[in-house]
Symmetry: D2
Subunit: 99 residues, 4 copies
Protein backbone atom coordinates (compact mmCIF):
# COMPACT_ATOMS: atom_id res chain seq x y z
CA UNK A 1 0.00 0.00 0.00
CA UNK A 2 1.32 3.40 -0.96
CA UNK A 3 1.50 5.92 1.89
CA UNK A 4 0.59 9.41 0.82
CA UNK A 5 -1.21 12.48 2.10
CA UNK A 6 -4.62 10.87 1.66
CA UNK A 7 -3.75 7.95 3.96
CA UNK A 8 -5.50 8.54 7.23
CA UNK A 9 -4.69 7.44 10.72
CA UNK A 10 -7.47 4.87 10.96
CA UNK A 11 -6.37 2.94 7.88
CA UNK A 12 -4.94 0.09 9.97
CA UNK A 13 -8.23 -0.14 11.93
CA UNK A 14 -10.51 0.24 8.92
CA UNK A 15 -11.95 -3.28 9.03
CA UNK A 16 -12.48 -3.09 12.80
CA UNK A 17 -14.22 0.29 12.41
CA UNK A 18 -16.52 -0.87 9.59
CA UNK A 19 -17.39 -4.01 11.59
CA UNK A 20 -18.30 -1.94 14.67
CA UNK A 21 -20.34 0.49 12.59
CA UNK A 22 -22.25 -2.40 11.03
CA UNK A 23 -23.08 -3.66 14.51
CA UNK A 24 -24.15 -0.13 15.49
CA UNK A 25 -26.39 0.05 12.42
CA UNK A 26 -27.95 -3.23 13.55
CA UNK A 27 -28.50 -1.78 17.02
CA UNK A 28 -30.31 1.26 15.57
CA UNK A 29 -32.49 -1.05 13.45
CA UNK A 30 -33.20 -3.07 16.59
CA UNK A 31 -34.40 0.08 18.36
CA UNK A 32 -36.77 0.79 15.44
CA UNK A 33 -38.26 -2.68 15.74
CA UNK A 34 -38.66 -2.22 19.51
CA UNK A 35 -40.63 1.00 18.90
CA UNK A 36 -42.75 -0.68 16.20
CA UNK A 37 -43.44 -3.66 18.51
CA UNK A 38 -44.51 -1.39 21.40
CA UNK A 39 -41.65 -2.54 23.64
CA UNK A 40 -41.62 -1.02 27.13
CA UNK A 41 -40.01 2.47 26.91
CA UNK A 42 -37.39 1.80 29.58
CA UNK A 43 -36.10 -1.24 27.67
CA UNK A 44 -35.81 0.86 24.50
CA UNK A 45 -33.91 3.54 26.47
CA UNK A 46 -31.41 0.93 27.66
CA UNK A 47 -30.74 0.02 24.02
CA UNK A 48 -30.38 3.69 23.04
CA UNK A 49 -27.78 4.21 25.82
CA UNK A 50 -25.85 1.12 24.65
CA UNK A 51 -25.87 2.37 21.05
CA UNK A 52 -24.69 5.83 22.11
CA UNK A 53 -21.81 4.19 23.99
CA UNK A 54 -20.93 2.12 20.90
CA UNK A 55 -20.79 5.30 18.78
CA UNK A 56 -18.60 6.96 21.40
CA UNK A 57 -16.16 4.04 21.19
CA UNK A 58 -15.96 4.52 17.42
CA UNK A 59 -15.27 8.23 17.99
CA UNK A 60 -12.54 7.51 20.57
CA UNK A 61 -10.88 4.97 18.25
CA UNK A 62 -10.89 7.46 15.35
CA UNK A 63 -9.51 10.14 17.65
CA UNK A 64 -6.66 8.01 18.97
CA UNK A 65 -5.66 7.03 15.41
CA UNK A 66 -5.87 10.65 14.36
CA UNK A 67 -3.59 11.74 17.23
CA UNK A 68 -1.02 8.98 16.51
CA UNK A 69 -0.85 9.73 12.81
CA UNK A 70 -2.17 13.04 11.44
CA UNK A 71 -1.50 15.14 14.56
CA UNK A 72 1.88 13.46 15.23
CA UNK A 73 2.92 14.13 11.59
CA UNK A 74 1.84 17.76 11.87
CA UNK A 75 3.69 18.37 15.14
CA UNK A 76 6.84 16.97 13.57
CA UNK A 77 6.43 19.58 10.81
CA UNK A 78 5.78 22.19 13.51
CA UNK A 79 4.77 25.82 12.91
CA UNK A 80 1.38 26.85 11.58
CA UNK A 81 0.58 23.34 10.30
CA UNK A 82 0.96 21.89 13.81
CA UNK A 83 -1.01 24.72 15.44
CA UNK A 84 -3.84 24.28 12.98
CA UNK A 85 -4.07 20.51 13.56
CA UNK A 86 -4.07 20.95 17.35
CA UNK A 87 -6.86 23.53 17.10
CA UNK A 88 -8.86 21.28 14.81
CA UNK A 89 -8.58 18.18 16.98
CA UNK A 90 -9.31 20.21 20.14
CA UNK A 91 -12.53 21.47 18.57
CA UNK A 92 -13.49 17.90 17.68
CA UNK A 93 -12.81 16.74 21.25
CA UNK A 94 -14.94 19.62 22.58
CA UNK A 95 -17.85 18.61 20.30
CA UNK A 96 -17.51 15.03 21.52
CA UNK A 97 -17.38 15.97 25.21
CA UNK A 98 -20.46 18.16 24.79
CA UNK A 99 -22.47 15.66 22.73
CA UNK B 1 -58.44 4.33 22.82
CA UNK B 2 -58.39 1.68 25.44
CA UNK B 3 -55.71 2.13 28.08
CA UNK B 4 -54.04 -1.09 29.09
CA UNK B 5 -50.70 -2.38 30.25
CA UNK B 6 -49.30 -2.69 26.73
CA UNK B 7 -49.96 0.94 25.78
CA UNK B 8 -46.75 2.87 26.19
CA UNK B 9 -46.10 6.55 26.54
CA UNK B 10 -44.52 6.99 23.14
CA UNK B 11 -47.47 5.53 21.21
CA UNK B 12 -48.58 8.96 19.98
CA UNK B 13 -45.04 9.70 18.79
CA UNK B 14 -44.40 6.28 17.27
CA UNK B 15 -44.25 7.44 13.66
CA UNK B 16 -42.00 10.39 14.53
CA UNK B 17 -39.69 8.08 16.50
CA UNK B 18 -39.43 5.47 13.74
CA UNK B 19 -38.76 8.22 11.18
CA UNK B 20 -35.95 9.67 13.30
CA UNK B 21 -34.45 6.24 13.90
CA UNK B 22 -34.49 5.53 10.16
CA UNK B 23 -32.59 8.78 9.60
CA UNK B 24 -30.13 7.78 12.35
CA UNK B 25 -29.65 4.38 10.69
CA UNK B 26 -28.85 6.26 7.46
CA UNK B 27 -26.34 8.42 9.32
CA UNK B 28 -24.55 5.33 10.70
CA UNK B 29 -24.45 3.83 7.19
CA UNK B 30 -23.04 7.14 5.93
CA UNK B 31 -20.23 6.93 8.52
CA UNK B 32 -19.41 3.40 7.30
CA UNK B 33 -19.11 4.68 3.73
CA UNK B 34 -16.89 7.57 4.90
CA UNK B 35 -14.53 5.06 6.57
CA UNK B 36 -14.54 2.82 3.47
CA UNK B 37 -13.83 5.84 1.23
CA UNK B 38 -10.89 7.00 3.40
CA UNK B 39 -12.60 10.27 4.32
CA UNK B 40 -10.56 12.60 6.53
CA UNK B 41 -10.88 11.44 10.17
CA UNK B 42 -12.06 14.82 11.50
CA UNK B 43 -14.96 14.88 9.01
CA UNK B 44 -16.00 11.40 10.12
CA UNK B 45 -15.84 12.50 13.77
CA UNK B 46 -18.17 15.42 13.02
CA UNK B 47 -20.69 12.92 11.63
CA UNK B 48 -20.29 10.63 14.65
CA UNK B 49 -21.01 13.57 17.00
CA UNK B 50 -24.12 14.50 14.97
CA UNK B 51 -25.38 10.90 15.10
CA UNK B 52 -24.79 10.69 18.86
CA UNK B 53 -26.81 13.88 19.28
CA UNK B 54 -29.62 12.41 17.13
CA UNK B 55 -29.74 9.31 19.34
CA UNK B 56 -29.82 11.52 22.44
CA UNK B 57 -32.86 13.33 21.05
CA UNK B 58 -34.61 10.00 20.58
CA UNK B 59 -33.77 9.11 24.19
CA UNK B 60 -35.06 12.46 25.49
CA UNK B 61 -38.30 12.10 23.51
CA UNK B 62 -38.86 8.57 24.87
CA UNK B 63 -38.11 9.81 28.38
CA UNK B 64 -40.53 12.73 28.22
CA UNK B 65 -43.30 10.43 26.95
CA UNK B 66 -42.49 7.92 29.66
CA UNK B 67 -42.71 10.61 32.35
CA UNK B 68 -46.04 11.98 31.03
CA UNK B 69 -47.64 8.56 30.80
CA UNK B 70 -46.15 5.58 32.65
CA UNK B 71 -44.61 7.55 35.53
CA UNK B 72 -47.63 9.85 35.85
CA UNK B 73 -49.98 6.82 35.96
CA UNK B 74 -47.82 5.17 38.62
CA UNK B 75 -47.65 8.26 40.83
CA UNK B 76 -51.44 8.52 40.70
CA UNK B 77 -51.55 4.92 42.03
CA UNK B 78 -48.95 5.89 44.64
CA UNK B 79 -47.24 3.55 47.06
CA UNK B 80 -44.72 0.91 46.05
CA UNK B 81 -45.76 1.08 42.36
CA UNK B 82 -44.90 4.78 42.22
CA UNK B 83 -41.63 4.34 44.12
CA UNK B 84 -40.54 1.54 41.80
CA UNK B 85 -41.27 3.62 38.65
CA UNK B 86 -39.37 6.63 40.00
CA UNK B 87 -36.38 4.46 40.84
CA UNK B 88 -36.47 2.86 37.40
CA UNK B 89 -36.67 6.11 35.46
CA UNK B 90 -33.98 7.68 37.66
CA UNK B 91 -31.63 4.81 36.83
CA UNK B 92 -32.37 5.28 33.12
CA UNK B 93 -31.64 9.02 33.37
CA UNK B 94 -28.35 8.24 35.18
CA UNK B 95 -27.31 5.84 32.40
CA UNK B 96 -28.15 8.50 29.82
CA UNK B 97 -26.25 11.28 31.62
CA UNK B 98 -23.20 9.04 31.96
CA UNK B 99 -23.27 7.69 28.38
CA UNK C 1 -40.79 21.57 60.52
CA UNK C 2 -43.87 22.83 58.79
CA UNK C 3 -44.58 21.19 55.43
CA UNK C 4 -45.90 23.60 52.86
CA UNK C 5 -45.69 24.44 49.17
CA UNK C 6 -42.15 25.71 49.56
CA UNK C 7 -40.93 22.36 50.87
CA UNK C 8 -38.90 20.79 48.13
CA UNK C 9 -38.22 17.19 47.23
CA UNK C 10 -34.65 17.17 48.43
CA UNK C 11 -35.47 18.33 51.98
CA UNK C 12 -34.89 14.82 53.39
CA UNK C 13 -31.51 14.65 51.64
CA UNK C 14 -30.46 18.22 52.45
CA UNK C 15 -27.62 17.30 54.81
CA UNK C 16 -26.30 14.64 52.43
CA UNK C 17 -26.45 17.14 49.53
CA UNK C 18 -24.67 19.92 51.44
CA UNK C 19 -22.00 17.43 52.57
CA UNK C 20 -21.39 16.27 48.99
CA UNK C 21 -21.26 19.84 47.73
CA UNK C 22 -18.71 20.74 50.42
CA UNK C 23 -16.56 17.84 49.26
CA UNK C 24 -16.97 19.00 45.66
CA UNK C 25 -15.92 22.52 46.66
CA UNK C 26 -12.82 20.97 48.23
CA UNK C 27 -12.11 19.08 45.01
CA UNK C 28 -12.30 22.30 42.96
CA UNK C 29 -9.94 23.98 45.42
CA UNK C 30 -7.61 20.99 45.10
CA UNK C 31 -7.55 21.43 41.31
CA UNK C 32 -6.60 25.11 41.79
CA UNK C 33 -3.68 24.10 43.98
CA UNK C 34 -2.60 21.49 41.43
CA UNK C 35 -2.51 24.19 38.73
CA UNK C 36 -0.62 26.58 41.02
CA UNK C 37 1.89 23.83 41.90
CA UNK C 38 2.51 22.94 38.23
CA UNK C 39 1.14 19.43 38.63
CA UNK C 40 1.30 17.28 35.50
CA UNK C 41 -1.68 18.18 33.26
CA UNK C 42 -2.97 14.61 32.94
CA UNK C 43 -3.18 14.29 36.74
CA UNK C 44 -5.18 17.53 36.91
CA UNK C 45 -7.51 16.24 34.18
CA UNK C 46 -8.18 13.07 36.20
CA UNK C 47 -9.26 15.28 39.12
CA UNK C 48 -11.46 17.42 36.85
CA UNK C 49 -13.22 14.28 35.55
CA UNK C 50 -13.78 13.04 39.13
CA UNK C 51 -15.24 16.43 40.14
CA UNK C 52 -17.54 16.49 37.11
CA UNK C 53 -18.80 13.03 38.07
CA UNK C 54 -19.38 14.22 41.66
CA UNK C 55 -21.48 17.14 40.37
CA UNK C 56 -23.45 14.77 38.14
CA UNK C 57 -24.28 12.63 41.18
CA UNK C 58 -25.61 15.73 42.95
CA UNK C 59 -27.73 16.50 39.88
CA UNK C 60 -29.10 12.95 39.69
CA UNK C 61 -29.95 12.97 43.40
CA UNK C 62 -31.79 16.30 43.06
CA UNK C 63 -33.60 14.99 40.01
CA UNK C 64 -34.76 11.78 41.68
CA UNK C 65 -36.07 13.75 44.68
CA UNK C 66 -37.79 16.18 42.35
CA UNK C 67 -39.50 13.33 40.48
CA UNK C 68 -40.64 11.59 43.70
CA UNK C 69 -42.06 14.78 45.20
CA UNK C 70 -42.76 17.81 43.03
CA UNK C 71 -43.49 15.91 39.80
CA UNK C 72 -45.46 13.19 41.60
CA UNK C 73 -47.58 15.87 43.37
CA UNK C 74 -48.22 17.65 40.07
CA UNK C 75 -49.25 14.48 38.22
CA UNK C 76 -51.73 13.71 40.99
CA UNK C 77 -53.25 17.15 40.36
CA UNK C 78 -53.18 16.41 36.62
CA UNK C 79 -54.10 18.82 33.83
CA UNK C 80 -51.99 21.83 32.92
CA UNK C 81 -50.05 21.76 36.21
CA UNK C 82 -48.83 18.22 35.50
CA UNK C 83 -48.01 18.99 31.84
CA UNK C 84 -46.01 22.04 32.86
CA UNK C 85 -43.97 20.09 35.47
CA UNK C 86 -43.21 17.27 33.01
CA UNK C 87 -42.06 19.79 30.39
CA UNK C 88 -39.89 21.57 32.95
CA UNK C 89 -38.19 18.44 34.27
CA UNK C 90 -37.69 17.11 30.71
CA UNK C 91 -35.88 20.33 29.77
CA UNK C 92 -33.67 19.99 32.87
CA UNK C 93 -32.84 16.37 31.96
CA UNK C 94 -31.97 17.46 28.39
CA UNK C 95 -29.60 20.14 29.75
CA UNK C 96 -27.97 17.55 31.97
CA UNK C 97 -27.57 14.95 29.21
CA UNK C 98 -26.03 17.58 26.94
CA UNK C 99 -23.70 19.08 29.55
CA UNK D 1 11.86 30.61 29.21
CA UNK D 2 13.76 27.46 29.98
CA UNK D 3 12.05 24.28 28.84
CA UNK D 4 12.45 21.42 31.26
CA UNK D 5 10.53 18.44 32.53
CA UNK D 6 8.55 20.43 35.09
CA UNK D 7 7.22 22.99 32.59
CA UNK D 8 3.72 21.96 31.64
CA UNK D 9 1.61 22.88 28.68
CA UNK D 10 -0.78 25.08 30.63
CA UNK D 11 1.91 27.32 32.13
CA UNK D 12 0.98 30.22 29.80
CA UNK D 13 -2.67 29.86 30.80
CA UNK D 14 -2.07 29.36 34.51
CA UNK D 15 -3.64 32.64 35.65
CA UNK D 16 -6.65 32.16 33.38
CA UNK D 17 -7.11 28.60 34.70
CA UNK D 18 -6.85 29.59 38.36
CA UNK D 19 -9.31 32.44 37.76
CA UNK D 20 -11.83 30.10 36.15
CA UNK D 21 -11.41 27.55 38.92
CA UNK D 22 -12.02 30.22 41.54
CA UNK D 23 -15.24 31.16 39.78
CA UNK D 24 -16.19 27.47 39.64
CA UNK D 25 -15.50 27.15 43.38
CA UNK D 26 -17.84 30.11 43.91
CA UNK D 27 -20.50 28.40 41.78
CA UNK D 28 -20.29 25.24 43.90
CA UNK D 29 -20.59 27.33 47.07
CA UNK D 30 -23.59 29.06 45.51
CA UNK D 31 -25.25 25.68 44.94
CA UNK D 32 -24.69 24.82 48.63
CA UNK D 33 -26.41 28.02 49.67
CA UNK D 34 -29.30 27.30 47.30
CA UNK D 35 -29.78 23.88 48.94
CA UNK D 36 -29.55 25.40 52.44
CA UNK D 37 -32.06 28.11 51.49
CA UNK D 38 -34.56 25.55 50.10
CA UNK D 39 -34.34 26.96 46.58
CA UNK D 40 -36.59 25.28 44.02
CA UNK D 41 -34.86 22.06 42.82
CA UNK D 42 -35.07 22.93 39.11
CA UNK D 43 -33.23 26.23 39.73
CA UNK D 44 -30.50 24.36 41.59
CA UNK D 45 -30.22 21.87 38.72
CA UNK D 46 -29.71 24.72 36.26
CA UNK D 47 -26.77 25.92 38.37
CA UNK D 48 -25.33 22.40 38.59
CA UNK D 49 -25.46 22.09 34.76
CA UNK D 50 -23.72 25.48 34.39
CA UNK D 51 -20.99 24.45 36.85
CA UNK D 52 -20.45 21.13 35.05
CA UNK D 53 -20.05 23.04 31.79
CA UNK D 54 -17.52 25.39 33.45
CA UNK D 55 -15.47 22.40 34.64
CA UNK D 56 -15.62 20.91 31.15
CA UNK D 57 -14.18 24.14 29.72
CA UNK D 58 -11.29 23.90 32.18
CA UNK D 59 -10.71 20.30 31.08
CA UNK D 60 -10.77 21.23 27.39
CA UNK D 61 -8.34 24.10 27.96
CA UNK D 62 -5.93 21.82 29.85
CA UNK D 63 -6.25 19.23 27.12
CA UNK D 64 -5.52 21.64 24.29
CA UNK D 65 -2.44 22.94 26.11
CA UNK D 66 -1.32 19.39 26.79
CA UNK D 67 -1.65 18.48 23.11
CA UNK D 68 0.26 21.58 21.92
CA UNK D 69 3.11 21.06 24.36
CA UNK D 70 3.62 17.71 26.06
CA UNK D 71 2.15 15.54 23.29
CA UNK D 72 3.79 17.61 20.52
CA UNK D 73 7.18 17.29 22.28
CA UNK D 74 6.75 13.55 22.65
CA UNK D 75 5.77 13.00 19.01
CA UNK D 76 8.88 14.90 17.94
CA UNK D 77 10.90 12.42 20.00
CA UNK D 78 8.89 9.60 18.44
CA UNK D 79 9.11 5.91 19.35
CA UNK D 80 7.85 4.50 22.62
CA UNK D 81 7.73 7.95 24.30
CA UNK D 82 5.29 9.23 21.66
CA UNK D 83 3.16 6.06 21.75
CA UNK D 84 2.92 6.24 25.53
CA UNK D 85 1.82 9.93 25.49
CA UNK D 86 -0.81 9.28 22.83
CA UNK D 87 -2.20 6.35 24.81
CA UNK D 88 -2.25 8.45 27.98
CA UNK D 89 -4.04 11.43 26.44
CA UNK D 90 -6.52 9.14 24.65
CA UNK D 91 -7.43 7.53 27.97
CA UNK D 92 -7.95 11.00 29.48
CA UNK D 93 -10.19 12.02 26.57
CA UNK D 94 -12.20 8.81 27.00
CA UNK D 95 -12.72 9.53 30.71
CA UNK D 96 -13.84 13.04 29.82
CA UNK D 97 -16.27 11.93 27.10
CA UNK D 98 -17.78 9.35 29.47
CA UNK D 99 -18.01 11.68 32.50
Amino acid sequence: MEHNVTTHGYVGNKDALVKRLRRTEGQVRGIQRMVEDDTYCMDILTQVSATTKALESVALLLLEDHLSHCVADATRQGGAVADEKIREVSAAIARLVRS
